[in-house]
Amino acid sequence: MTTTTPPAPLSPLEEPAYAHRPPQLTVLADLVQALSGIPAVTRLLVRGSLATGTADRLSDVDLVVAVRDERLPALMGSLDAVMSTEFGTLLPGWRDTIVGDLGGAGFVYLLPHDGHLLQLDLYLCPDSAVDALRRRIGPGLLWQETRPDTGPHPHPHPDADADAQGETAAELARTAVAPANCPTLLVQAMVLHAMLRKRVLRGQEYIAYGLLHQLHETCRDVIRTALVPHSRHHGWYHLPDEVGRTTIGRECLAGLTDALSGPPVPTVAQADQALERIVRLTGWIAPHAVAALSDEITAYRFYQSQEAQA
């Protein structure tokens, strides 16, 4: 749950506008308040529909967090704990593979807010790369640190030496290609499902098609990761040969074939079935992953059932 203190004083006309502002703005204000007090953070920038003023009730919160280069790996490693304890995020962050490479790393969180789930996209960017990011996507500056010696944040940061930049870039590259395990893939499935439901509800069929395809790929990756963890093959190649050698593998392939036989653009109910299929298959072949995320899966289902009733 998040709270913010209203700016004072508000005029009588401003008060109702403040009371009925989009929930994303409340979350954004809380993020700025929490992160602007952290010495490793140098700038906060907003992008997406909140920056352009086109947000609706389903819009996500897109925040770019500029971090001193040498502190970025530590912040990245602690981000789930911070988001969970400070903001009550529902799941660990999913390493966003949809956002383009902007020099950092994106993470998607699902945040319960007023009975609904908000999507929170955090992009951690090394401070040395933020100016290039701003030139590419032009996010709006929300906050920047003021240093007692130099005043407002200088660009680029003078402390960001070449060694720190190189080490951080190497760490970002290493984590970007690290193989996912089954719990991570389950988190990915839930986040993709949340995104998919939103796009279906908005009638954005092309994006919904792409997200459903990613959900099917997640199903495939769970199967391959659990049953053939040391596979040298990627994607769809050699899947029947590798997985179909056992009875349970053939049952998994039957479930995957069933998924691929559905319509390319799903209804909400079909999107729900796609997620439940992944959870069910994972329960067979990687029960430890489902057990480790048991509370999270229950909570996620609860919020999505609330959305369905709304």
Partner: protein, 110 residues
């Protein structure tokens, strides 16, 4: 007593069923080191409240001795040279577990 929806659901029945109760594991030295390292990293970044929170959550994950989570937080602050904060959590432990001298003597604290 701390109650929540899960507790209330259990409490409507007079007896527990098999599987209702789960014995929490004892925190090993390795678990402890890993948790304290995570907390220290959070505090080093400036997320002191988060560091304290993840140590408090150890209460739900491990069979700690009474007040053990507060001891972990006090130790975190001691290790970081924050004696004032360490003392604050030591006092909090005494207060929350009713270990103050006044409560031990059966008197209400002022």
């Amino acid at each position: 007593m701390h109650t929540d929806d899960a507790y209330r659901k259990l409490a409507v029945r007079p007896h527990l069923r098999t599987g209702d109760g789960v014995r929490l594991p004892v925190m090993t030295a390795a678990d402890r080191d890993r948790l304290m390292e995570r907390a220290d990293q959070l505090a080093s970044l400036g997320f002191v409240s988060s560091a304290e929170q993840i140590l408090l959550r150890a209460y739900y994950a491990y069979a700690l001795p009474e007040g053990g989570a507060y001891d972990l937080i006090a130790e975190l602050h001691t290790n970081r040279g924050s004696e004032t904060e360490a003392a604050r959590w030591t006092e909090a432990k005494k207060h929350l577990l009713a270990r103050t001298s006044s409560s031990l003597a059966g008197r209400n604290p002022e």
